[in-house]
Amino acid sequence: MPLDLSEVRRYTIAILVENRFGVLSRVSGLFSGRGYNIDSLSVAETLDPTVARMTIVARATQLVIEQLVKQLHKLIDVIKVIDLTDEEHVSREMLLLRVGAAPATRAEILRIADIFRAKIVDVTPLSYTLEVTGDESKISAIVELLRPFGIQEVVRTGKVAIARGSKILSRKDQTKLQQLQGAPRAVGYDS
């Protein structure tokens, strides 16, 4: 696949790190140190409490991302780096959105929420708060559809992503990681 190395694309990178303070700073520092903005970042503990998983979405060229991935590998606290962008992967974000809902428009809003399988998590006489989960395009679509009604507040989580199938963080990697830890424990993905 001929790739234009200087074309700016959005990259999704998953990183397994030691679950210690300062790691988040070091990783995000790698991006900010080069003047690259992180579009979204999410991080949480995995099943192994000593390991955390970060999902970063950033915009850069292929050349830059290659260097960034190498530099990430270099960090002492980084255990594994996976560029999910061109791999088959599933990604989800969650959105909490409060939209103005006057009596005339309440029914329409509920219909839209239903179509997107969003949940109503709060109700007031003049507004609804929705919780929506989905991939990036679904989230963007519902925001656009609800915009005409008057969106009062929006909170979005970062993207989390996981590879499809057993290609990345394979059984072989799993066993290797388990051996390294010395105890047969899963590290946060389907066993």
Binding site: Q67, Q71, H73
Partner: protein, 585 residues
């Protein structure tokens, strides 16, 4: 034991013999424990007069001995002063562990006295850093810190020690081994790649060995020499790689890069096989990247995978420790060698000799005014039988030293390359002399650079270090002046150091023999007198302020567009007039 005692014990276990430091309130418990170590002659403490100097001394100590350098300073401003040295160590890959004091854990974040976000500030300029939050973690952290500092691509590791942790009681249990699941540097190169490299070397008609500081970190000088001699390959060194190959060896082309010799850079850009070992294709070496080595196939041997193919294409990358990789490469070469390269190599060397004759490294001699290159050449000549350790500061004098001081052994050249830290030279010379009290250590400094850390002269006297300190005094920030002269139309600003202390008198005030030379005829006798003097000496060499460092590859220009000497044949009266203004005080 208290945390402070655990600290001292851990250092002992790591084989630390010297600590460079400067105490302060937050770190007093550590110093109190050090007091006992000192009395038991287990550790030596060298008091710096400014924290960056403590860091630089630790760096030089590491470079000269191959061990991990250690420095200990207090919290707040001490840590921020140390940042320069940490950044310097990171860029130049020097293994040091820097301990900083910190306010007690319950005060962190409260804007306490001398508090700073030490770990946050040092995060981006260290290989790794730690804040010790529990006395139980202290010994394992120290063990990890030393391991990380010295392994893979060496670098600075910072450990922040809150005061209450140092006072807490804890069990001392020094881990036998540690294993970091997330950090596993590759030591052995890929055998297939190495074989490929051997084949490429035997096929090459115009090969060049381009070696950097990585060869010195790996102690791979013997393997490098074997490789060069096996296939008669010309060797060029980066500023950080000086000494990796003997400077007086017939196969040596000296330093390359922005101020490398014309023939060296010309040979490099005409190569068909560039063998890079422990070097990182820095922009000071390559100049304009797309114009560098247009015909070359590149072999890159480096322990840091991020260095490989970072700036320049690499056909045969080999990740591994230079010593191990070169040893294997030499074996493969000997196996595959059929002598078919000999003929083309003869032609290559003839070409290089012709280039060398065409534009050798040269400067205009003068009997009226001291030329800085002459000062350095004389020092090199007078001490060549002694294999001195040379420490330089940053600037024109550093480039001249790289060009004219012949260094034949690794770990005998100490300089600030990547970061170019002015003020590095004197503390580095201190670190080098403390590391090798048996050796002659020469410090080549500029007048601007000297003034940045001249307070360290007290340390020189206190520790009785017989340094020979030469100030290449051109009354200016010479390198900056050169750039303003060449690229900013002689619009000189901020470079005039004619308002200055009498350096020789200043030395005497510190308790050091101060000498001055203002005429070319005085240079050799002054050096001889300094070298004969048993204690430390400082020499103020009043050199030609107009002399610039050539050849030069202008920033961003292609290497082939190197500027040779300024065409300047001065009348003797002009030189005399200039010299007359330099008779000191």
């Amino acid at each position: 034991m208290t945390g402070a005692q655990i600290f001292c014990e851990s250092l002992k276990r790591e084989g630390v013999e010297v600590i460079f430091g400067l105490p302060g309130e937050a770190v007093l418990p550590a110093y109190d424990a050090l007091f006992d170590s000192l009395n038991r002659k287990e550790l030596r403490h060298v008091l710096a007069r400014q924290e960056a100097a403590a860091g630089h001394a630790a760096e030089a100590y590491a470079r000269v001995t191959g061990k991990v350098g250690v420095c200990l300073v207090t919290s707040g401003p001490a840590c921020t002063n140390l940042v320069t040295a940490l950044a310097d160590a990171q860029v130049d890959s020097m293994p040091i562990v820097a301990f900083t004091g910190q306010v007690p854990t319950h005060l962190i974040g409260n804007d306490a006295f001398q508090e700073a976000d030490n770990v946050g500030i040092c995060r981006s300029c260290t290989k790794h850093n730690y804040l010790v939050k529990d006395v139980k973690e202290l010994a394992p952290i120290i063990k990890e810190a030393f391991y990380i500092a010295r392994s893979g691509r060496p670098g600075p590791v910072h450990v922040d020690l809150p005061k209450d942790i140092l006072l807490k009681q804890g069990e001392f249990a020094y881990p036998e081994k540690i294993f970091l699941r997330s950090y596993n540097p590759t030591v052995e190169g890929h055998p297939g790649q190495i074989k490929k490299a051997a084949q490429a070397i035997l096929k090459a008609r115009k090969p060049i060995l381009y070696v950097g500081g990585g060869v010195i970190n790996a102690d791979a000088a013997p393997e490098l020499r074997e490789l060069a001699e096996l296939a008669q390959i010309p060797v060029t060194m980066t500023l950080m790689g000086i000494g990796a190959f003997p400077g007086d060896h017939p196969l040596s082309l000296g330093m390359l890069g922005m101020h490398g010799a014309w023939y060296t850079n010309t040979a490099v850009i005409n190569t068909d096989l560039l063998i890079a070992v422990g070097a990182r294709f820095d922009n000071r070496v390559t100049g304009k990247l797309d114009a560098w080595c247009p015909e070359a196939e590149v072999i890159h041997i480096d322990i840091d995978p991020t260095s490989i193919a970072r700036n320049f294409h690499v056909e045969i990358p080999i990740v591994g420790d230079a010593k191990h990789v070169l040893a294997r490469l030499n074996k493969d070469l000997r196996q595959l060698d059929d002598g078919s390269w000999k003929e083309s190599r003869e032609a290559w060397w003839q070409q290089i000799k012709a280039w060398k004759a065409q534009h050798p490294l040269t400067y205009e001699r003068s009997d009226e005014i001291i030329k800085p290159q002459f000062v350095i050449q004389e020092a090199s000549r007078l001490t060549s039988h002694l294999d001195p350790i040379v420490a330089t500061d940053v600037g024109q004098h550093q480039m001249w030293a790289g060009q004219y001081f012949i260094v034949n052994k690794p770990r005998h050249w100490v300089t600030s390359g990547g970061l170019g830290t002015m003020g590095y030279g004197l503390p580095a010379a201190i670190g080098a002399q403390v590391a090798r009290p048996d050796k002659l250590v020469i410090a080549l400094l500029g007048d601007g650079s000297f003034q940045m850390n001249m307070q360290e002269l007290s340390t020189v006297v206190e520790e009785r270090l017989p340094l020979k300190i030469a100030i290449v005094n051109n009354l200016a920030h010479g390198m900056v002046r050169q750039w303003q002269e060449l690229f900013y139309n002689r619009r000189f600003i901020g470079i005039d150091l004619s308002v200055r202390p009498d350096y020789a008198k200043l030395a005497e005030a510190f308790g050091i023999l101060g000498l001055r030379a203002t005429k070319p005829s005085e240079v050799t006798p002054t050096w001889e007198r300094a070298l004969a003097h048993p204690g430390p000496v400082l020499i103020d060499f009043a050199v030609d302020p107009e002399e610039a460092c050539f050849p030069m590859v202008p920033a961003g220009a292609a290497v082939k567009d190197m500027v040779l000497a300024k065409p300047k044949s001065e009348k003797p009266e002009e030189a005399k007039a200039r010299a007359a203004k330099l008779t000191g005080f």
